[in-house]
């Protein structure tokens, strides 16, 4: 059967209980520990799906598939919290309530995009860890070449300009007017008090905003 938001909440609750006390992963969590208590019907459906099982003493555990589901829900919940707080500046109760609903609405791919957007955050605003997703693993596996904005380079680093990207077209125009274009080799000379870099035989000085629009593929 399809998993419902209520069932997801249950999984989430169990996961969080295990999070606090990792030994419970194997020994199971006593049903009395849940405040408010878990809904019986949902638990039954989850068991039928094979996401939870019970120990002899009636404690509830997450099966591997249940674990995976729970992790996903929690990840989406905590990513939503980060999104609300960091990007949308929504805090407190409103954040909690909204995040709680987001977790059921976000498709996994959308969550990955949010994760990338936020720069693969490791913890939620409450300090709890955010389970990593495929995008985070991919990031770790990726070594070179990495593309970074010129503003992030250290003096002496070189690379090839991969692309120019800025919210305002004037910034791109300015760079083009200087002759700073994709394909050119660039070396950063200084960061402070302004960004000074070299392309070919010419040197240019720009501020942080423009330096942030030049994306460089680094040389190893």
């Amino acid at each position: 059967m399809e998993i419902t938001p209520e069932m997801e909440e249950v999984l989430e609750a169990i996961y969080m209980a295990i999070e606090d006390q990792p030994e419970k992963e194997r020994s199971g969590v006593a049903l009395e520990e849940f405040q408010p208590p878990l809904d019986e019907a949902n638990l039954k459906e989850l068991r039928e799906r094979g996401d939870v099982d019970f120990t002899d003493s009636g404690r509830v555990r997450l099966t591997p598939s249940g674990m995976e589901q729970a992790r996903g829900v929690l990840r989406r919940h905590r990513l939503a919290e980060r999104l609300l707080m960091d990007v949308l500046d929504v805090r407190g109760e409103l954040m909690d309530e909204t995040a709680c609903q987001f977790e059921h609405l976000l498709h996994r791919d959308v969550a990955e995009k949010i994760c990338s957007l936020l720069g693969h955050p490791k913890v939620c605003p409450h300090g709890k860890p955010i389970p990593p997703g495929r995008c985070c693993e991919a990031m770790k596996a990726q070594v070179e070449p990495a593309v970074a904005p010129l503003a992030d380079l250290k003096p002496g680093q070189q690379g090839t300009i991969a692309y120019l990207h800025a919210d305002e077209p004037e910034k791109i125009q300015k760079l083009m007017a200087l002759g700073v274009l994709p394909g050119s080799r660039v070396e950063l000379i200084r960061r402070f008090p302004s960004y000074v870099f070299r392309v070919g035989y010419s040197q240019y000085a720009v501020d942080g905003e423009i330096a942030g629009a030049v994306y460089v593929r680094l040389m190893s």
């Binding site: 125009q173 083009m176 274009l181 240019y204």
Partner: protein
């Protein structure tokens, strides 16, 4: 004279160097020529010297107008080469035939709609490799192209050698090396323009097979009339250029459908975009060409100039360097030498001992009666405030040497390429006051003549910047005429840090403080944010005497023509004010303000005259001081208030013209209050602390 041509300073003023801008004659009465003169189009990315070359090639009838339907300005002119007349168009900066900006779109439209007989592709010789892909695109269009390697002198200085013949043979087009600013190579360029012929082979580069096939299929279907070769057009269509698609669609709708089918088929044959493949191939080709025909030394060795440059841009060393430049340049050269030695010589000796007494004696001979109208007539020309004894004397003996020396210093610094480095050092600070590093030019120029600097604020990008810059210039930047005299006054006081008097240091510090504070306030009040800072850093080099002299003379002659006459008028106004006793009344009106500043009532003269001519005001101070009527603190207070005080009459006119009447009036009110407010504050604090200067 500002009266003659309404609202325009009708002169042509071209500056070379990294801050390139020109004020050209606008002649709306002469329309673009309707005769079918053969057209030469100058094409290239910005900052390669297109405008300079344009002036080299054209003689008369230069017009600047908007390309129809856009805000992009296009400059056209007529030139005569070897007896034949040409129409020359200076296209807006174009990097690639796939335009991104509106300027590029217009440039391309000019090429495709106007069928020029010859395209001069101007490139910066030392960056040839980067520009070659565009040369290729122009060649592919099918028109005669001349590759013009400009700024060849800088390339030579870097040790770059280009095999022009080999390159010309490889590309199949003439290759000319020039230095547009000096005229070197321009004659050869003209010869090549005359001899321009459409070429046979317009495919120096072949792309991937499937692309070449697609090109052939598309070219085959193009039956209409376009101002480009089939190959060039096909390449643009393959890259799905909107404008081209519309153009073709307008002429042959079915063909367009078939063509787009070919394009889609080609698209399906590669995971990359076709444009990406084409751009890559062109880049590889350009690298190969560079390898074969351009010899460039390794960039690893850092020359002395580069080392020095690095020193100027690191704050730890750059700021001391700046202070040294200020000390030796502004203080010693313009201040002590100019305002002191030279002025003393000119004013004291030449005018003081010879010319003025001679004029006065002459006047007495013509109009011998001591009082009455003859007295006033003599006073008009001679005496204490006469046109000659004060107006001309001050203009020639005081202002001209000081301003002249400042312009000389400025031109030297400009020619070395120091200013972009200064700009990048102060960009962050300037951002706090709503400006950015690029404003360094008008600000520094303000130390020479604030009027000229206010005009130069035109190079600033946003209106907000222009207003803030104008305000700060009018308020806190002392022009050299003022600055010279004030330095003379304050430098004589008790010596302090490094041999510079405390009074002077305090004056400088107070001004800097007001500058920053008012700047920050203005930035807050006006809202918005400063535009991003970007600037090329040309290599540091020794100033060339010819350049320096040309620039200095240009600026000086502008000053002579536009500002000095106003000062002569000011003398007349002062004379009239004295006759009618109007001035005495105004000075009396000033006395409460003077008391607030702790100054004697007579100091009111200083401000009144200072409005018309700053140097008059400062000279009045000089007078009071030498008569022992002012204490050190009073002198400082007066200097501070005078510097902050209303702009001189020349500048007032420029402000009204550039920023508009409303803005100017608001600024004036603010400036007036600030000048006296700060003066009163300084007086209060210093006398309260019992400081003696």
């Amino acid at each position: 004279m500002p009266g003659k041509r309404k609202g325009r300073f009708g002169f042509k003023w071209r500056r070379r160097g990294p801050f390139r801008f020109a004020l050209r004659h606008r002649r709306p009465d002469i329309k673009a020529s309707k005769e079918p003169l053969p057209e030469v189009a100058i094409v290239g990315s910005p900052n390669v010297g297109k405008s300079v070359m344009f002036s080299q090639l054209t003689g008369h009838y230069v017009t600047v107008s908007n390309y129809p339907g856009t805000t992009v300005e296009v400059t056209r002119g007529r030139g005569r080469i070897d007896g034949r007349q040409f129409s020359i168009v200076d296209t807006p900066g174009l990097y690639s035939l796939l335009p991104i900006t509106e300027e590029e779109r217009v440039a391309r439209r000019i090429l495709l709609n106007e069928a020029p007989e010859c395209i001069v592709h101007m490139v910066d010789a030392k960056n040839l490799e980067r520009m070659l892909p565009s040369t290729l695109q122009l060649i592919e269009l099918g028109k005669p192209v001349i590759l013009n390697l400009n700024i060849i002198d800088e390339a030579e200085k870097l040790g770059i050698q280009i095999d022009r013949e080999g390159l010309a043979k490889e590309l199949g087009i003439p290759v000319v090396a020039t230095v547009a600013t000096s005229g070197r190579g321009v004659n050869e360029l003209k010869e090549k323009i005359i001899a321009a012929q459409p070429r046979e082979d317009i495919a120096p580069l072949r792309y991937d097979d499937f692309i070449e096939k697609a090109i052939k299929d598309i070219a085959h279907r193009l039956k209409g009339i376009y101002n480009a070769s089939a190959r060039g057009l096909s390449l643009l269509l393959l890259q799905e250029d909107r404008e081209m698609m519309e153009k073709v669609g307008a002429q042959e709708t079915e063909a367009l459908a078939e063509i787009m089918a070919v394009v889609n088929e080609a698209r399906g044959k590669t995971p990359h975009s076709i444009g990406y493949l084409i751009a890559n191939r062109r880049r590889d080709w350009a690298e190969e060409i560079k390898r074969r025909y351009v010899l460039s030394p390794s960039l690893l060795k850092i020359s002395f100039a580069e080392r020095l440059s690095r020193l100027t841009i690191s704050p730890a060393t750059g700021i001391p360097i700046l202070l040294l430049v200020l000390y030796f340049g502004l203080y010693k050269f313009v201040g002590v030498f100019g305002a002191g030695t030279v002025v003393n010589f000119l004013e004291g000796k030449i005018f003081g001992e010879y010319l003025n007494p001679w004029v006065n004696a002459l006047l007495l001979r013509i109009l011998p009666v001591a009082f009455g109208w003859q007295f006033w007539a003599r006073e008009l020309v001679g005496g204490q405030y006469g046109i000659f004894t004060l107006g001309v004397t001050y203009a020639v003996a005081i202002i001209l040497p000081i301003v002249g020396l400042f312009f000389l210093l400025f031109s030297i610094l400009e020619d070395t390429g120091y200013f972009p480095r200064l700009a990048l050092l102060i960009d962050r600070i300037f951002k706090r006051i709503g400006l950015n590093g690029r404003a360094v030019i008008p600000m520094v120029l303000g130390f020479g003549c604030v009027t000229m600097a206010t005009m130069v604020t035109r190079i600033l990008e946003t209106r907000r910047e222009r207003i803030i810059a104008t305000l700060l210039l009018a308020l806190a930047i002392p022009c050299s005429a003022q600055y010279g005299v004030i330095t003379g006054l304050l430098a004589q006081r008790q010596a302090g840090f490094l041999g510079v008097s405390y009074a002077f240091l305090l004056w400088a510090a107070i001004l800097t403080g007001v500058f920053l504070l008012v700047g920050m306030l203005a930035a807050q009040v006006l809202g918005g944010s400063p535009p991003s800072f970007y600037m090329e850093l040309p290599p540091l080099r020794l100033p060339q005497i010819s350049n320096v002299l040309t620039k200095t003379v240009t600026r000086l002659s502008w000053y002579f023509r536009e500002v000095l006459p106003l000062f002569l008028w000011a003398s007349i106004i002062i004379w009239a004010g004295r006759i009618s006793r109007a001035f005495d009344l105004i000075i009396q009106g000033f006395s409460p303000l003077m008391r607030l500043l702790g100054l004697p009532e007579k100091a009111g003269e200083v401000f009144l005259y200072g409005f018309f001519r700053r140097d008059f005001g400062a000279a009045g101070l000089f007078d009071l001081n030498s008569r022992g009527l002012l204490s050190g603190v009073q002198l400082l207070v007066a200097c501070v208030a005078l510097t902050l005080f209303l702009p001189c009459i020349a500048q007032l006119l420029i402000m009204k013209k550039e920023r508009g009447l409303k803005v100017t009036v608001v600024m004036l009110v603010f400036i007036f209050s600030t000048a006296f407010g700060v003066g009163a504050l300084v007086n209060f604090i210093l006398t309260g602390l019992g400081v003696k200067l």
